[in-house]
Symmetry: C2
Subunit: 269 residues, 2 copies
């Protein structure tokens, strides 16, 4: 999907909501456990209930891998299910990979060729050859960790060198490797004060923004400081949406939570 | 496995060799393609041929994931096969994971509980809560990326802040979270000049050292500068060993290559 197509999608849906699919067998409604593949049934219901309100879905790889072969199958089926909306939804493999060239190439093959994702999150620590193999796929995206939403983001990401903080170095340097049609950044909603500053360093890139909801980030604070002229944001919400109810009404409750987000987003588009 | 047990194993085998299992269906001997699971057959033969010469095996997750469910099965079977040498071999999931706390917890479950690895490689960019969930497993290890072997290691890892380079900050800070009984560092053999300096910062930790062989690192240069009083090194070799021959003699050729490494290592133990 091109950047222009992504912006069109955002305009059509009047939303820049990304729904995180961190599907945990221990947190889904108990009645789903009767199905052969509860994880997949849950994802399908969440997707059906939110597809007109969300522009993106973000399965978190850890939750699938922890179930081994069964989890991998649930993920493959979820991605296949999403294919019916190809071009109408943006998919993110939240995998935070990054390795030497020949290995990153294998990860690119996994997420783009095999699973059919539009994008993958990548950790920048290992530098250019860990990121560039993902750029060989036209229309596919790399989402590099810039300033993350978690407490540990303060351990290294704010270290200052040559007048810039580490996450600023990452944001500037990676733009030498990829243009904004293939490169997004993860910028956590828990640092709302940073968006204005970071926008100056990466004016045209989309930012994937985790941390709204359960982690305490505020949608309005992010949108006010983070939007650019083609929106430029994908704000993720996970637990607030997918676990809005643990009863049989979980999909309807997810829809209501997504609607609340979408309503709040409209005015920024 | 405790640090003491690992050192005992090194003394018994007179080796600190780690064999990388980056098993690529396109690079294994063609006659194996007749088997139901060629990847597993290859791994089994390599393990059988080198088990008395190698203290560690390091499957590279990317190579298994790129084959989807089939690849995951090959990995599970390989790990199960290695179980017969439990306590006699150290296993490393080369996965370079790292995410927010609840997600790192899932990865720990995957690699330690589900697959039964002794250790997993972790990227440090996201800080403490991305590393600490792996430490909740007694006798299991986190191997944090310090100074990696690839070209891109120069992009961020040498940035200087407060008189220290980023990889030095990582090596010092992570030692506040874990002791040398659970914490190793990845230090690339392509930076032999760095070992002497890094030993002063992390005197007691084991280092996992990639980059010998195909990537150009030199075993002697690493061992001379990197060993401590309980060895303190696991030197990885992958392509030089597992692809020593592409014929039917691949396992015997792998053994010869491993033997060459082990012979060179003896004098440092």
């Amino acid at each position: 999907m091109t950047r222009h197509e992504l912006f069109q999608l955002i305009q059509q849906k009047q939303s820049f909501l990304c729904v995180g699919l961190d599907t945990d067998i221990e947190l889904i409604p108990p009645h789903l456990l009767d199905y052969e593949d509860p994880i997949y049934e849950f994802n399908k219901a969440i997707i059906d209930a939110t597809i007109d309100l969300a522009v993106a879905y973000k399965p978190n790889l850890a939750f699938y891998e922890s179930k081994g072969v069964a989890g991998w199958k649930s993920l493959e089926k979820t991605m296949k299910y999403l294919q019916q909306w190809e071009g109408k939804v943006f998919t993110i493999a939240d995998a935070k990979r990054g390795d030497i060239g020949n290995t990153s190439k294998m990860y690119a093959k996994t997420f783009f060729d095999h699973l059919g994702f539009d994008s993958v999150t990548v950790a920048p620590y290992m530098g250019e050859d860990s990121v560039s193999p993902f750029l060989d796929y036209y229309g596919k995206w790399v989402i590099v960790l810039g300033l993350t939403s978690n407490k540990g983001s303060t351990d290294f990401q704010f270290l200052e060198s040559e007048g810039k903080m580490l996450h600023e170095h990452v944001i500037l340097k990676t733009q030498q490797w990829a243009n904004p049609d293939q490169l997004m950044f993860v910028i956590g909603a828990t640092h709302p004060e940073a968006f204005h500053r970071i926008r100056k360093l990466a004016p045209d890139n989309f930012y994937l923004v985790p941390g709204v909801g359960a982690q305490g980030g505020d949608l309005d604070a992010v949108a006010e400081n983070g939007c650019n002229d083609h929106c430029g944001l994908l704000i993720n919400s996970t637990r607030q949406i997918i676990y809005a109810s643990k009863g049989k009404d979980f999909a309807e409750a997810a829809r209501q939570a997504a609607l609340q987000n979408q309503t709040a987003m409209k005015k920024y588009i």
